[in-house]
Amino acid sequence: MASDNKKVKIKVTNLHKYFDKNEVLTGIDAEITEGEVVCVIGPSGSGKSTFLRCLNKLEKATSGDIVIDGYDITDKKVDINKVRENIGMVFQQFNLFPNMTVKKNIMMAPVELKKMTKPEAEQKAISLLERVGLSDKADSFPGELSGGQQQRVAIARALAMNPDIMLFDEPTSALDPEMVGEVLDVMKELAAEGMTMVVVTHEMGFAREVADRVLFMADGVIMEEGSPEELFGNPQNERTRDFLKKVL
Protein backbone atom coordinates (compact mmCIF):
# COMPACT_ATOMS: atom_id res chain seq x y z
CA MET A 1 0.00 0.00 0.00
CA ALA A 2 3.06 2.17 0.10
CA SER A 3 2.58 4.56 -2.74
CA ASP A 4 5.70 5.56 -4.61
CA ASN A 5 5.55 9.26 -3.95
CA LYS A 6 5.80 8.73 -0.19
CA LYS A 7 8.96 9.47 1.71
CA VAL A 8 11.22 6.59 2.69
CA LYS A 9 11.54 6.63 6.50
CA ILE A 10 13.71 3.58 7.04
CA LYS A 11 16.11 2.05 4.59
CA VAL A 12 18.10 -1.00 5.55
CA THR A 13 20.80 -2.31 3.25
CA ASN A 14 22.60 -5.62 3.63
CA LEU A 15 22.36 -5.64 7.44
CA HIS A 16 24.43 -8.28 9.22
CA LYS A 17 24.54 -8.80 12.96
CA TYR A 18 26.79 -11.14 14.90
CA PHE A 19 26.58 -12.01 18.57
CA ASP A 20 30.13 -13.25 19.10
CA LYS A 21 30.52 -15.75 16.30
CA ASN A 22 26.84 -16.38 15.95
CA GLU A 23 25.37 -14.68 12.90
CA VAL A 24 21.85 -13.63 13.84
CA LEU A 25 21.05 -11.40 10.88
CA THR A 26 22.45 -12.63 7.61
CA GLY A 27 21.83 -9.81 5.20
CA ILE A 28 18.63 -7.85 5.49
CA ASP A 29 17.32 -5.34 2.99
CA ALA A 30 14.17 -3.43 3.74
CA GLU A 31 12.51 -0.15 2.98
CA ILE A 32 9.71 1.36 5.00
CA THR A 33 7.87 4.45 3.85
CA GLU A 34 6.08 7.17 5.74
CA GLY A 35 2.83 6.09 7.34
CA GLU A 36 3.41 2.45 6.57
CA VAL A 37 2.58 -0.23 9.14
CA VAL A 38 4.93 -3.18 8.78
CA CYS A 39 4.49 -6.32 10.86
CA VAL A 40 7.43 -8.67 11.27
CA ILE A 41 6.51 -12.27 11.94
CA GLY A 42 8.49 -15.47 12.11
CA PRO A 43 9.57 -18.29 14.41
CA SER A 44 11.46 -17.46 17.59
CA GLY A 45 15.17 -17.14 17.03
CA SER A 46 14.62 -15.86 13.51
CA GLY A 47 16.18 -12.51 14.39
CA LYS A 48 13.07 -10.33 14.22
CA SER A 49 13.64 -8.63 17.57
CA THR A 50 17.31 -8.14 16.78
CA PHE A 51 16.36 -6.58 13.46
CA LEU A 52 13.96 -4.22 15.21
CA ARG A 53 16.51 -3.30 17.89
CA CYS A 54 19.05 -2.48 15.20
CA LEU A 55 16.67 0.18 13.87
CA ASN A 56 17.27 2.41 16.91
CA LYS A 57 20.75 1.06 17.58
CA LEU A 58 19.90 -0.74 20.80
CA GLU A 59 21.86 -3.39 18.94
CA LYS A 60 24.81 -2.25 16.88
CA ALA A 61 24.82 -3.51 13.33
CA THR A 62 27.94 -5.54 12.56
CA SER A 63 27.84 -4.40 8.94
CA GLY A 64 25.42 -2.82 6.51
CA ASP A 65 23.58 0.49 6.47
CA ILE A 66 20.52 1.66 8.32
CA VAL A 67 19.25 5.04 7.20
CA ILE A 68 16.51 6.68 9.27
CA ASP A 69 15.08 9.89 7.86
CA GLY A 70 18.27 10.42 5.93
CA TYR A 71 20.61 9.74 8.86
CA ASP A 72 22.82 6.68 8.58
CA ILE A 73 22.80 5.47 12.16
CA THR A 74 25.63 3.03 11.51
CA ASP A 75 27.79 6.12 10.97
CA LYS A 76 29.57 6.97 14.21
CA LYS A 77 29.35 10.68 13.49
CA VAL A 78 25.56 10.63 13.57
CA ASP A 79 24.23 11.57 17.02
CA ILE A 80 22.11 8.54 17.77
CA ASN A 81 20.39 10.27 20.69
CA LYS A 82 18.96 12.88 18.34
CA VAL A 83 17.72 10.22 15.92
CA ARG A 84 16.20 8.24 18.78
CA GLU A 85 14.12 11.24 19.81
CA ASN A 86 12.08 10.61 16.68
CA ILE A 87 11.77 6.86 17.15
CA GLY A 88 9.52 5.63 19.92
CA MET A 89 9.95 2.10 21.16
CA VAL A 90 7.61 -0.19 23.06
CA PHE A 91 9.06 -3.26 24.75
CA GLN A 92 7.68 -6.67 25.57
CA GLN A 93 8.34 -6.11 29.28
CA PHE A 94 6.95 -2.51 29.26
CA ASN A 95 10.09 -1.24 31.05
CA LEU A 96 8.26 1.57 32.81
CA PHE A 97 10.32 3.35 35.46
CA PRO A 98 8.95 1.82 38.69
CA ASN A 99 10.07 4.68 40.91
CA MET A 100 8.13 7.32 38.99
CA THR A 101 4.41 7.90 38.72
CA VAL A 102 2.72 7.25 35.41
CA LYS A 103 2.71 10.96 34.65
CA LYS A 104 6.41 11.33 35.53
CA ASN A 105 7.24 8.36 33.32
CA ILE A 106 5.72 10.18 30.38
CA MET A 107 7.11 13.63 31.23
CA MET A 108 10.67 12.53 31.94
CA ALA A 109 12.17 12.44 28.45
CA PRO A 110 10.58 15.61 27.00
CA VAL A 111 11.62 17.57 30.10
CA GLU A 112 15.12 16.10 30.41
CA LEU A 113 15.81 16.60 26.73
CA LYS A 114 14.41 20.14 26.91
CA LYS A 115 11.77 19.47 24.29
CA MET A 116 9.08 20.87 26.54
CA THR A 117 8.77 22.85 29.74
CA LYS A 118 7.37 21.02 32.74
CA PRO A 119 3.83 22.41 32.34
CA GLU A 120 3.88 21.60 28.61
CA ALA A 121 5.06 18.06 29.30
CA GLU A 122 2.41 17.65 31.95
CA GLN A 123 -0.26 18.83 29.53
CA LYS A 124 1.10 16.39 26.97
CA ALA A 125 1.11 13.55 29.48
CA ILE A 126 -2.49 14.22 30.44
CA SER A 127 -3.67 14.30 26.84
CA LEU A 128 -1.71 11.13 26.00
CA LEU A 129 -3.18 9.33 28.98
CA GLU A 130 -6.61 10.36 27.82
CA ARG A 131 -5.81 8.96 24.43
CA VAL A 132 -4.84 5.56 25.83
CA GLY A 133 -7.80 5.62 28.22
CA LEU A 134 -5.89 5.96 31.47
CA SER A 135 -6.60 9.51 32.61
CA ASP A 136 -7.41 8.33 36.10
CA LYS A 137 -4.00 6.65 36.53
CA ALA A 138 -1.77 9.70 36.16
CA ASP A 139 -0.59 9.63 39.76
CA SER A 140 -0.40 5.85 40.13
CA PHE A 141 2.86 3.95 40.16
CA PRO A 142 3.45 1.36 37.43
CA GLY A 143 3.36 -1.43 40.01
CA GLU A 144 -0.27 -0.64 40.73
CA LEU A 145 -1.36 -1.17 37.12
CA SER A 146 -2.26 -4.29 35.20
CA GLY A 147 0.02 -5.44 32.40
CA GLY A 148 -2.27 -4.06 29.74
CA GLN A 149 -2.45 -0.70 31.47
CA GLN A 150 1.33 -0.62 31.88
CA GLN A 151 1.82 -1.27 28.20
CA ARG A 152 -0.60 1.49 27.28
CA VAL A 153 1.38 3.86 29.51
CA ALA A 154 4.56 2.68 27.79
CA ILE A 155 3.02 3.59 24.43
CA ALA A 156 2.05 7.00 25.81
CA ARG A 157 5.59 7.48 27.12
CA ALA A 158 7.05 6.66 23.72
CA LEU A 159 4.63 9.09 22.06
CA ALA A 160 5.54 11.94 24.41
CA MET A 161 8.56 12.85 22.31
CA ASN A 162 6.31 13.22 19.24
CA PRO A 163 8.18 10.56 17.30
CA ASP A 164 7.31 9.88 13.68
CA ILE A 165 8.37 6.24 13.81
CA MET A 166 7.22 3.71 16.41
CA LEU A 167 8.88 0.35 17.00
CA PHE A 168 7.00 -2.38 18.84
CA ASP A 169 8.89 -5.39 20.14
CA GLU A 170 6.31 -8.09 20.79
CA PRO A 171 4.16 -5.62 22.74
CA THR A 172 1.50 -8.13 23.75
CA SER A 173 3.60 -11.23 24.40
CA ALA A 174 3.92 -10.63 28.15
CA LEU A 175 0.23 -9.89 28.62
CA ASP A 176 -2.59 -12.02 29.93
CA PRO A 177 -4.89 -12.86 27.02
CA GLU A 178 -7.72 -10.64 28.21
CA MET A 179 -5.46 -7.60 28.08
CA VAL A 180 -4.11 -8.07 24.58
CA GLY A 181 -7.10 -6.36 22.98
CA GLU A 182 -6.80 -3.06 24.82
CA VAL A 183 -3.18 -2.67 23.74
CA LEU A 184 -3.84 -3.67 20.14
CA ASP A 185 -6.71 -1.17 20.02
CA VAL A 186 -4.36 1.67 20.94
CA MET A 187 -1.94 0.48 18.26
CA LYS A 188 -4.71 0.29 15.68
CA GLU A 189 -5.68 3.88 16.40
CA LEU A 190 -2.09 4.93 16.05
CA ALA A 191 -1.85 3.15 12.70
CA ALA A 192 -5.04 4.82 11.53
CA GLU A 193 -3.58 8.22 12.39
CA GLY A 194 -0.77 7.57 9.95
CA MET A 195 2.12 6.67 12.26
CA THR A 196 4.99 4.80 10.66
CA MET A 197 5.11 1.55 12.60
CA VAL A 198 7.31 -1.53 12.68
CA VAL A 199 5.73 -4.23 14.81
CA VAL A 200 7.33 -7.52 15.75
CA THR A 201 4.38 -9.64 16.73
CA HIS A 202 2.83 -13.02 17.19
CA GLU A 203 -0.65 -11.55 16.80
CA MET A 204 -1.49 -12.78 13.31
CA GLY A 205 -4.97 -11.27 13.55
CA PHE A 206 -3.48 -7.84 14.16
CA ALA A 207 -0.97 -8.25 11.34
CA ARG A 208 -3.71 -9.31 8.95
CA GLU A 209 -6.02 -6.47 9.91
CA VAL A 210 -3.67 -3.55 10.41
CA ALA A 211 -0.45 -4.16 8.51
CA ASP A 212 0.18 -2.62 5.12
CA ARG A 213 2.94 -5.11 4.63
CA VAL A 214 4.07 -8.24 6.44
CA LEU A 215 7.66 -9.45 6.57
CA PHE A 216 8.27 -13.11 7.31
CA MET A 217 11.69 -13.69 8.84
CA ALA A 218 13.56 -16.94 9.37
CA ASP A 219 17.24 -17.73 9.89
CA GLY A 220 18.17 -14.07 10.02
CA VAL A 221 16.75 -13.03 6.65
CA ILE A 222 13.46 -11.82 5.28
CA MET A 223 12.21 -14.95 3.57
CA GLU A 224 9.07 -13.45 2.15
CA GLU A 225 7.17 -10.21 2.23
CA GLY A 226 3.92 -8.90 0.90
CA SER A 227 0.52 -7.54 1.75
CA PRO A 228 -1.33 -9.45 4.45
CA GLU A 229 -3.65 -10.84 1.77
CA GLU A 230 -0.72 -12.18 -0.23
CA LEU A 231 1.31 -13.48 2.68
CA PHE A 232 -1.47 -15.07 4.69
CA GLY A 233 -3.67 -15.99 1.73
CA ASN A 234 -1.13 -17.33 -0.67
CA PRO A 235 2.33 -17.77 0.86
CA GLN A 236 4.97 -18.61 -1.74
CA ASN A 237 7.83 -19.75 0.46
CA GLU A 238 7.89 -23.23 1.94
CA ARG A 239 9.06 -21.86 5.33
CA THR A 240 6.27 -19.29 5.41
CA ARG A 241 3.65 -21.94 4.71
CA ASP A 242 5.13 -24.16 7.36
CA PHE A 243 5.18 -21.37 9.95
CA LEU A 244 1.65 -20.18 9.19
CA LYS A 245 0.33 -23.73 9.42
CA LYS A 246 1.71 -23.92 12.96
CA VAL A 247 0.46 -20.57 14.24
CA LEU A 248 -2.89 -20.11 12.51
Binding site: L58, N81, R84, M89, N95, A109, R157, L167
Partner: protein
Protein backbone atom coordinates in the same frame (compact mmCIF):
# COMPACT_ATOMS: atom_id res chain seq x y z
CA UNK B 1 34.13 -5.04 90.02
CA UNK B 2 32.04 -2.06 90.95
CA UNK B 3 29.41 -1.43 88.31
CA UNK B 4 27.91 1.46 90.22
CA UNK B 5 31.19 3.30 90.48
CA UNK B 6 32.07 2.69 86.85
CA UNK B 7 28.63 3.82 85.77
CA UNK B 8 28.93 7.17 87.50
CA UNK B 9 32.61 7.74 86.80
CA UNK B 10 32.99 6.41 83.27
CA UNK B 11 29.68 7.41 81.72
CA UNK B 12 30.61 11.04 81.02
CA UNK B 13 33.88 9.89 79.44
CA UNK B 14 32.24 7.17 77.42
CA UNK B 15 29.47 9.49 76.22
CA UNK B 16 32.14 11.86 74.96
CA UNK B 17 33.75 8.95 73.18
CA UNK B 18 30.45 7.89 71.69
CA UNK B 19 29.86 11.37 70.31
CA UNK B 20 33.17 11.16 68.54
CA UNK B 21 32.52 7.61 67.36
CA UNK B 22 29.21 8.60 65.80
CA UNK B 23 30.59 11.85 64.43
CA UNK B 24 33.60 10.23 62.79
CA UNK B 25 31.50 7.40 61.35
CA UNK B 26 28.93 9.80 59.94
CA UNK B 27 31.54 11.97 58.26
CA UNK B 28 33.40 8.91 57.00
CA UNK B 29 30.31 7.25 55.57
CA UNK B 30 29.32 10.50 53.84
CA UNK B 31 32.75 10.80 52.24
CA UNK B 32 32.73 7.05 51.64
CA UNK B 33 29.48 7.32 49.67
CA UNK B 34 31.07 9.89 47.37
CA UNK B 35 34.27 7.83 46.97
CA UNK B 36 32.23 4.66 46.52
CA UNK B 37 30.03 6.18 43.85
CA UNK B 38 32.98 7.57 41.92
CA UNK B 39 34.95 4.31 42.19
CA UNK B 40 31.91 2.28 41.23
CA UNK B 41 31.30 4.36 38.08
CA UNK B 42 35.02 4.22 37.27
CA UNK B 43 35.07 0.46 37.67
CA UNK B 44 32.04 0.10 35.41
CA UNK B 45 33.22 2.62 32.84
CA UNK B 46 34.35 1.49 29.42
CA UNK B 47 37.74 3.15 29.97
CA UNK B 48 40.20 0.42 30.86
CA UNK B 49 42.47 2.81 32.76
CA UNK B 50 39.70 4.19 35.00
CA UNK B 51 38.38 0.73 35.59
CA UNK B 52 41.85 -0.54 36.51
CA UNK B 53 42.47 2.33 38.95
CA UNK B 54 39.20 1.63 40.73
CA UNK B 55 39.91 -2.10 40.68
CA UNK B 56 43.31 -1.63 42.32
CA UNK B 57 41.89 0.71 44.97
CA UNK B 58 39.17 -1.76 45.92
CA UNK B 59 41.62 -4.65 45.85
CA UNK B 60 44.17 -2.93 48.11
CA UNK B 61 41.63 -1.71 50.65
CA UNK B 62 39.75 -4.97 50.85
CA UNK B 63 42.93 -7.00 50.89
CA UNK B 64 44.58 -5.25 53.85
CA UNK B 65 43.47 -4.92 57.47
CA UNK B 66 42.14 -1.54 58.50
CA UNK B 67 44.60 -1.49 61.39
CA UNK B 68 47.48 -1.48 58.92
CA UNK B 69 45.74 1.14 56.78
CA UNK B 70 45.35 3.35 59.86
CA UNK B 71 49.07 3.01 60.66
CA UNK B 72 50.03 3.87 57.11
CA UNK B 73 47.76 6.92 57.02
CA UNK B 74 48.64 8.18 60.49
CA UNK B 75 52.33 7.30 60.83
CA UNK B 76 53.43 6.41 57.33
CA UNK B 77 52.18 9.18 55.07
CA UNK B 78 53.18 12.08 57.34
CA UNK B 79 56.74 10.75 57.34
CA UNK B 80 56.68 10.59 53.56
CA UNK B 81 55.18 14.05 53.16
CA UNK B 82 57.56 15.53 55.72
CA UNK B 83 60.39 14.76 53.31
CA UNK B 84 59.01 17.57 51.17
CA UNK B 85 57.12 19.64 53.74
CA UNK B 86 58.83 19.20 57.11
CA UNK B 87 56.16 21.09 59.02
CA UNK B 88 53.39 18.73 57.91
CA UNK B 89 51.30 17.28 60.76
CA UNK B 90 48.31 15.00 60.67
CA UNK B 91 46.06 14.73 63.72
CA UNK B 92 44.37 11.52 64.75
CA UNK B 93 40.92 12.85 63.94
CA UNK B 94 41.76 13.66 60.32
CA UNK B 95 43.79 10.47 59.88
CA UNK B 96 40.92 8.47 61.35
CA UNK B 97 38.38 9.98 58.99
CA UNK B 98 40.67 9.43 56.00
CA UNK B 99 41.21 5.79 56.92
CA UNK B 100 37.58 5.07 57.62
CA UNK B 101 36.33 6.86 54.47
CA UNK B 102 38.81 5.08 52.24
CA UNK B 103 37.77 1.82 53.81
CA UNK B 104 34.04 2.40 53.55
CA UNK B 105 34.49 3.76 50.01
CA UNK B 106 35.91 0.48 48.74
CA UNK B 107 33.10 -1.60 50.16
CA UNK B 108 30.46 0.91 49.09
CA UNK B 109 31.84 0.88 45.54
CA UNK B 110 31.06 -2.82 45.38
CA UNK B 111 27.68 -2.31 47.05
CA UNK B 112 26.71 0.36 44.50
CA UNK B 113 27.97 -1.81 41.67
CA UNK B 114 25.70 -4.58 42.85
CA UNK B 115 22.84 -2.08 43.03
CA UNK B 116 23.45 -0.88 39.48
CA UNK B 117 23.66 -4.44 38.17
CA UNK B 118 20.37 -5.20 39.92
CA UNK B 119 18.54 -2.60 37.81
CA UNK B 120 17.04 -4.51 34.87
CA UNK B 121 18.65 -3.81 31.50
CA UNK B 122 15.26 -2.87 30.11
CA UNK B 123 15.29 0.27 32.25
CA UNK B 124 18.31 1.78 30.57
CA UNK B 125 17.15 0.53 27.17
CA UNK B 126 13.85 2.32 27.65
CA UNK B 127 15.64 5.53 28.63
CA UNK B 128 18.11 5.28 25.75
CA UNK B 129 15.30 4.58 23.27
CA UNK B 130 13.72 7.88 24.31
CA UNK B 131 16.88 9.69 23.32
CA UNK B 132 18.59 10.09 26.70
CA UNK B 133 22.36 9.99 26.61
CA UNK B 134 24.32 7.35 28.46
CA UNK B 135 25.15 9.66 31.36
CA UNK B 136 21.62 11.06 31.65
CA UNK B 137 20.27 7.52 31.66
CA UNK B 138 22.64 6.64 34.47
CA UNK B 139 21.80 9.75 36.46
CA UNK B 140 18.05 9.91 36.00
CA UNK B 141 16.99 6.29 35.62
CA UNK B 142 19.60 3.79 36.79
CA UNK B 143 21.22 5.43 39.82
CA UNK B 144 18.02 6.37 41.68
CA UNK B 145 16.88 2.76 41.46
CA UNK B 146 20.33 1.35 42.18
CA UNK B 147 20.66 3.56 45.24
CA UNK B 148 17.37 2.27 46.55
CA UNK B 149 18.54 -1.32 46.11
CA UNK B 150 21.73 -0.39 47.94
CA UNK B 151 20.18 1.19 51.03
CA UNK B 152 20.04 -1.97 53.20
CA UNK B 153 23.70 -2.75 52.45
CA UNK B 154 24.56 0.89 52.94
CA UNK B 155 23.12 0.87 56.45
CA UNK B 156 25.00 -2.35 57.07
CA UNK B 157 28.23 -0.68 55.96
CA UNK B 158 27.45 2.18 58.32
CA UNK B 159 27.16 -0.31 61.18
CA UNK B 160 30.49 -1.84 60.20
CA UNK B 161 32.09 1.61 60.05
CA UNK B 162 30.82 2.46 63.52
CA UNK B 163 32.36 -0.71 64.90
CA UNK B 164 35.56 -0.21 62.92
CA UNK B 165 35.99 3.19 64.50
CA UNK B 166 37.19 1.28 67.57
CA UNK B 167 40.25 0.20 65.59
CA UNK B 168 41.19 3.86 65.33
CA UNK B 169 41.78 3.94 69.08
CA UNK B 170 45.26 2.65 68.25
CA UNK B 171 46.20 5.93 66.58
CA UNK B 172 44.92 7.84 69.56
CA UNK B 173 41.52 8.86 68.27
CA UNK B 174 39.56 9.63 71.41
CA UNK B 175 36.57 7.52 70.52
CA UNK B 176 34.74 5.30 72.99
CA UNK B 177 37.25 2.43 73.24
CA UNK B 178 40.11 4.85 73.63
CA UNK B 179 38.24 6.65 76.40
CA UNK B 180 37.50 3.33 78.06
CA UNK B 181 41.16 2.35 77.93
CA UNK B 182 42.12 5.57 79.61
CA UNK B 183 39.59 5.04 82.34
CA UNK B 184 40.60 1.41 82.85
CA UNK B 185 44.20 2.53 83.19
CA UNK B 186 43.27 4.55 86.23
CA UNK B 187 40.54 2.39 87.78
CA UNK B 188 41.49 -1.19 86.80
CA UNK B 189 37.77 -1.86 86.25
CA UNK B 190 38.29 -3.95 83.13
CA UNK B 191 35.18 -6.06 83.22
CA UNK B 192 32.53 -3.49 84.02
CA UNK B 193 34.02 -0.78 81.81
CA UNK B 194 34.28 -2.91 78.71
CA UNK B 195 30.84 -4.38 79.34
CA UNK B 196 29.49 -0.84 79.36
CA UNK B 197 31.33 -0.11 76.12
CA UNK B 198 29.80 -3.21 74.54
CA UNK B 199 26.34 -2.20 75.73
CA UNK B 200 26.73 1.29 74.29
CA UNK B 201 27.69 -0.16 70.91
CA UNK B 202 24.76 -2.55 71.07
CA UNK B 203 22.35 0.28 71.77
CA UNK B 204 23.58 2.47 68.89
CA UNK B 205 23.69 -0.38 66.43
CA UNK B 206 20.30 -1.73 67.48
CA UNK B 207 18.79 1.67 66.82
CA UNK B 208 20.36 1.65 63.38
CA UNK B 209 19.06 -1.84 62.69
CA UNK B 210 15.56 -0.76 63.60
CA UNK B 211 15.84 2.20 61.24
CA UNK B 212 17.22 -0.06 58.54
CA UNK B 213 14.35 -2.53 58.92
CA UNK B 214 11.89 0.31 58.75
CA UNK B 215 13.43 1.69 55.55
CA UNK B 216 13.55 -1.76 53.99
CA UNK B 217 9.89 -2.34 54.70
CA UNK B 218 8.96 1.06 53.39
CA UNK B 219 10.88 0.48 50.17
CA UNK B 220 9.18 -2.83 49.65
CA UNK B 221 5.79 -1.17 49.86
CA UNK B 222 6.69 1.73 47.64
CA UNK B 223 6.99 -0.48 44.58
CA UNK B 224 3.39 -1.54 45.03
CA UNK B 225 1.97 1.66 46.41
Amino acid sequence: MNFGRVLTEATPLLLEGIKLTIGVSLIAIAIGIVIGLIMCLMKMSSSKILSAIAGIYIWVIRGTPMLVQAFIVFFGFPQLIQLFAPSFRLDAFTAGIITLSLNAGAYLAEIFRGGILAVPKGQSEAARSLGLSKSKTMLKVVLPQAFKFSIPSLVNQFIISIKDTSILSVIGLAEIVNKAKTYVGKSYEFFSTYIFVAVYYLVIISILMIISNYIEKKLKYEGKK
